[in-house]
Amino acid sequence: MKDRPMVPRADFRSYYGRPIVRPAVWHHDIAAYLFTGGLAAGSAMLAAGGDATGRPALRRAGRVTALGALVASTYFLVNDLGRPERFHHMLRVAKPTSPMSMGTWILSGFGAFAGAAAVAEAAPLLPRPLGRLLGPVGTAGQYAAAVTAPALATYTAVLLADTATPSWHAAYPELPFVFAGSALASGAGVGLIAAPPRESAPARRMAVLGAAMELYGAHRVETSKGILSEPYTQGRPGKLLRAGRTLTALGTAGALLGRRSRVVSALSGAALLAASLATRFGIFEGGIASAEDPKYTVVPQRERLAQRQQQHKQG
């Protein structure tokens, strides 16, 4: 009896170790959507930049990828909801306090613009009058999509942060930067894969800037949130985020150093895309992990309470 191990002294109490807040019921569809949404946004911006600066390869790749990513996003969302008409139900309401409602409108608007832009890529294949009409519509759509893209890339950060999931909510100041950076980097990745070296310079710069934003944000998320940073550094989420960081670094380095090689560029682009995917999954799973362990609900709230009591005493 005496030599049986005692309970390790826990510094908090809970109800049989059960979670207090409920982890999001979303499956990996939503993590994937975070990636495809960001990819769509980054690609759309790439397309607009490419078009504006006369880089047709970037334009084409950007437009097509944006639409492709958009279609994938819609698939993931519908899959998560279970039935297609449920997505349509979202459009009956516009609710400012619901990031998801806002996001639905952003996604729908972006979708219309990006769709027009992508379809315009097919203009040469169409009968002339229609093709002629499509050109300007596509251009207008392309710029409108680019203007909407930052919202599409960052609203998902608000979507996650506006929950009781401890490590998501605590990360709300930096999460938009992680997602924005990740979106840029993935857009840049598309550029690196699709564009010939002569067109790819902006994509390389986009990769560097995006990576910087993403790395800065992720660093803050992983280090400045006290115990709530922990879920992002441990287990699968930790592995994913570390993989994301490594891939980002490799991708960025490749983008900078391999500018003459199409193969290295493409590999770098692929690394950036994979990095973005890993980062999104890491952030997603880190939040879920923080909800599943009551420690992450109790300890920070206890600290907050203690602080308030301290202030109360002093004040």
Binding site: Y16, L46, S101, A164, P176, M213, R304
Partner: protein, 323 residues
């Protein structure tokens, strides 16, 4: 939207646009008189046609419900707290049981009030409630609490619902319209109490309605009606708060405290609040919940900033540097 629409003290029904709203109604759950009979759970399911939640022996004392869920809108928590002494554990009974009965005699073995160090029972979870000796007690305690949706003044679930399926009633309560809910699941992580939940078969969100279909007819919600000891009290929130204040004063020396009664707390006060005999987390409640949408404006600001940074980065990428 009013000044406190996202955060701070508020009467939610008028804020939601009800003109001449009736008084705000709610629950006061006094855990000091809960006998753990679970009549609330059964009455709730009978009235609301909630399906059973599976036949699983959890080993969490007598709690085989395992907290609130889509299929359990009332759930009684059971917490066994052995007597604990701050230092110098002498497990005389255990030693005696192992054949060293002299230790038993020396320690004055007896029934009630025997104090000893808690030991690990191999129960799930490494941090059994009550087994952290931060609250020395000479008596064994068995705490029971019927948990329920808090019907927050600032309800995270309602705020984030993208379809309007969750709405504020004229009584200030929060209800899901099952025919509007589209199963996005956003409300579920948004609840700071982990109350609202998705039903696996249809994907929709379900939770306590505070018997909206009863209180509109002047009836008491099923759980409060069934509660034999008035542990669950239903009424006008103001009156319940006054009653609770008296009750907590009376039970102060038993460690009684109110939970969710304060309009200045992180959710603007709960429509369903509690008298507890230990810390909230011991019952599976968050010690200091806040509604996430408190920070929504700040979040959008940060998102906007990140978006601008993104735009700037693209501009720099394309316009700056060498071609």
């Amino acid at each position: 939207m009013g000044a406190n629409s996202l955060y701070g003290p508020l009467d939610p029904a008028p804020d939601a646009g009800y003109v001449d709203a009736p008084p705000r109604m709610g629950f006061f759950t006094d855990t000091s008189v809960c006998i753990g009979c679970k009549a609330c759970e059964v009455a709730c399911k009978e009235w609301n046609g909630v399906p059973d939640d599976g036949f699983n022996l959890l080993g969490h004392s007598y709690d085989n419900t395992g907290g609130l869920s889509a299929n359990s809108w009332r759930a009684v928590a059971f917490i066994e707290q052995p007597a604990v002494v701050p230092a110098g554990p002498v497990d005389a009974l255990a030693e005696a049981a192992a054949g060293r009965s002299d230790a038993l005699a020396e320690a004055g073995c007896g029934g009630a009030g025997t104090t000893r160090e808690p030991e690990f029972l191999g129960m799930p979870g490494t941090d059994l409630p009550g087994r952290t000796p931060d609250a020395p007690r000479t008596d064994f305690r068995w705490l029971m609490m019927s948990n329920v949706c808090k019907h927050c003044t600032h309800a995270g679930c309602l705020d984030v619902c993208p379809t309007g399926a969750l709405f504020r009633t004229e009584f200030g309560t929060v209800v899901v319209q099952e025919d509007v809910c589209n199963g996005c699941g956003y409300c579920i992580p948004a609840c700071p109490y982990g109350v609202i939940d998705q039903r696996k078969d249809d994907g929709r969100a379900w939770k306590c309605t505070l018997c909206y279909d009863r209180i509109g007819d002047g009836l008491t919600p099923a759980c409060a009606q069934a509660c034999p000891t008035q542990s669950i009290q239903y009424g006008e929130l103001d009156e319940l708060r006054a009653r609770a204040a008296e009750r907590v004063e009376k039970l102060k020396d038993q460690g009684a405290r109110l939970y969710g009664h304060d309009p200045d707390d992180g959710v603007g006060g709960d429509g369903a609040f509690f008298l507890l005999l230990d810390e909230p987390e011991v019952y599976g409640l968050p010690p200091d919940p806040i509604v996430a949408t408190r920070d929504l404006p700040a979040m959008w600001k940060r998102a906007g900033l990140a978006g601008l940074a993104m735009a700037a980065a693209v501009a720099v990428s394309f316009l700056g540097g060498r071609r």
